[in-house]
């Protein structure tokens, strides 16, 4: 009986170790793929959907430089960029030097089988508390990520890949984030009362999720980027 219990423990331990090793190597492979990109300049269209924010679709340039610098610029006008948008680049999530990876199994995402990996940073001072990655093992790309931070709430990323899969760069990113209340004192704004104000205030209270969609049209990869771009 004792031998049998030891055998069970041995099998369980070794299989857990194997899974952990597999998931670590999977994350490592994804990291290596992303590491091919030292910098990029991308063009795209950004669509912002926040209940209290009415903005036009923006033509933007997205700049990235290793290790974790990211800048989104609207060349023609003004853009409101959500805090935490830096995580739209997976390099920035995986740039944490040491983390514990936990395998959470396989799930289907848009009919694609992906492995769920939970990353726990080992550094107590890290802003990221937990990242959940949905990794496409065939293409070695992250299709979905959910990041919980200490200061900026939880962000969610959904990514579609196309022309730049070999670099692990998506064609489309949907970035979902938590929003806080927006309220201006009426005495400051002196709004024209066209009968919709109350309805809009109620809508704002209902929906506290914001969404930003970026459709990338073109990447210029590893051509070198000046630091001045990020100022």
């Amino acid at each position: 009986m004792r031998k049998f219990i030891f055998l069970i423990i041995f099998i369980f331990q070794s299989s857990f170790y194997t899974f952990a090793q597999d998931v670590n190597s999977l994350v490592q492979k994804v990291k290596e793929k992303l590491a091919l990109v030292n910098d990029y300049e991308a063009s795209g269209r950004m669509k912002t959907n926040v209940v209290f924010l009415k903005v036009p679709i923006a033509t933007v340039k997205i700049y990235f430089k290793k290790p974790n610098r990211l800048k989104i610029k609207n060349e023609k006008g003004i853009s409101f960029i959500p805090k935490g948008a830096i995580t739209i680049n997976m390099n920035n999530i995986l740039s944490v030097s040491s983390f514990t990876a936990i395998d959470a199994g396989l799930v289907k995402l848009d009919n694609i089988s992906v492995r769920v990996v939970k990353l726990l940073p080992q550094d107590d001072t890290s802003d990221v508390v937990l990242s959940t990655l949905y990794i496409d093992e065939t293409n070695l790309v992250i299709r979905k990520a959910r990041t919980t931070t200490k200061d900026n709430g939880t962000f969610e990323l959904d990514m579609s890949y196309g022309k730049y899969t070999e670099y692990g760069l998506p064609d489309k990113v949907i970035f979902t984030f938590n929003t806080k209340d927006y309220k201006m004192p009426k005495g400051v704004t002196f709004d024209f009362d066209d009968g919709d104000a109350q309805k809009k205030a109620e809508e704002n209270m209902k929906n506290r999720k914001g969404k930003v969609e970026i459709d990338y049209t073109q990447y210029s990869i590893n051509k070198g980027l000046s630091d001045a771009v990020f100022k």
């Binding site: 669509k47 912002t48 959907n49 926040v50 209940v51 209290f52 924010l53 009415k54 903005v55 036009p56 679709i57 023609k76 006008g77 003004i78 853009s79 409101f80 960029i81 959500p82 805090k83 948008a85 984030f177 938590n178 929003t179 806080k180 209340d181 927006y182 309220k183 201006m184 004192p185 009426k186 005495g187 400051v188 704004t189 002196f190 709004d191 024209f192 009362d193 066209d194 009968g195 919709d196 104000a197 809009k200 205030a201 704002n204 914001g210």
Partner: protein
């Protein structure tokens, strides 16, 4: 009538007090421009501080000529009615006070014609005041601060209008503001017709505007559901409606659109009604008045 109108306009612009309004607007606009040139970023931060935790806000880009003009119109269009009343409150009562009204009535023109001419002179003064305000607040601000998208902060939402879509809204807003200020001119014109000195109509106009504005903005249901929809001060803010851009279901603004054009047109019609009511009443009263001074 044309000659008479020229004469009335000449009289208005001959009086030094007329230029007080132009000087006051220039002083207010220039003071605000200097303040926003130095501390504009802080002011935008104060306005949008509730969003600071959620979004990275491009404060420096928001503080552009279009935004500064909008911020100024917010302040000025509450105070300009006082400056309008300075002239239109004086136009009949001032003559009665000086004793020239009886002399004027000896001319071979009807009382109604004389009143309409005087009112038209007030309208010309109001339009010139607004052109002056437009030049200072829009043209000078654009020259000093440049242009970019306009961000309009409402009580419950923040709207962004592309810079190519802004200018026509200002033209429409200034057109609406002209009608709104003509209502004030018509009110003080009416009060001027029943008064024998100009201080009374000016002070009475300002008092009415203050009381009505407080009732419009206090948000007390008893007023909101009863008198507020009929107060002209409620509808005077209709110029802002041109900056309330429509958005689609995904929250993307639609270039060239207005959220609620019928509400603006309704306000415009109500203001027009007030003008007819005030001027009509002034003519009616004046035609039956014994002119003793």
């Amino acid at each position: 009538m044309w000659k008479l109108l020229q004469f009335e306009v000449f009289k208005i612009f001959k009086k030094p007090r007329t230029y007080i309004a132009f000087a006051a607007i220039a002083a207010i606009v220039l003071l605000i421009q200097v303040a926003l040139l130095i501390n504009g970023k802080e002011y935008v931060k104060f306005m949008l501080s509730s969003l600071d935790d959620t979004l990275d806000i491009p404060y420096t880009q928001i503080r552009n000529g279009y935004w500064i003009c909008f911020a100024m119109l917010n302040l000025l269009l509450i105070h300009v009615p006082i400056l309008v009343a300075l002239v239109s409150g004086d136009i009949i009562a001032g003559e009665a006070n000086m004793g020239t009204l009886r002399l004027l009535m000896t001319k071979p023109i009807s009382r109604a014609e004389m009143m309409l001419t005087k009112f038209l002179a007030c309208v010309i003064y109001t339009i010139m005041l607004l052109i002056w305000m437009t030049f200072l607040s829009l043209v000078i601000s654009v020259v000093l601060f440049g242009t970019n998208d306009l961000v309009v902060a409402k009580e419950a939402e923040l709207l962004q209008i592309e810079k190519v879509d802004v200018l026509w809204r200002y033209i429409a807003a200034f057109g609406f503001a002209t009608v709104a200020l003509i209502v004030v001119a018509a009110l003080s014109f009416l009060l001027s017709a029943i008064s024998e000195n100009s201080i009374g109509p000016i002070v009475a106009t300002v008092s009415i505007i203050i009381v009505f504005t407080i009732m419009s903005e206090m948000r007390i249901p008893i007023y909101d559901n009863t008198v507020k929809p009929y107060l002209f001060t409620t509808h005077m803010l209709g110029w802002k409606g041109f900056f309330y851009i429509k958005a689609d279901e995904d929250g993307q603004t639609i270039r060239g659109s207005i959220q609620n054009l019928p509400a603006i047109m309704k306000s415009l019609a109500i203001l027009g009604g007030y003008i007819v009511l005030f001027v009509g009443s002034a003519i009616f009263i004046f035609k039956r008045k014994d002119i003793l001074s």
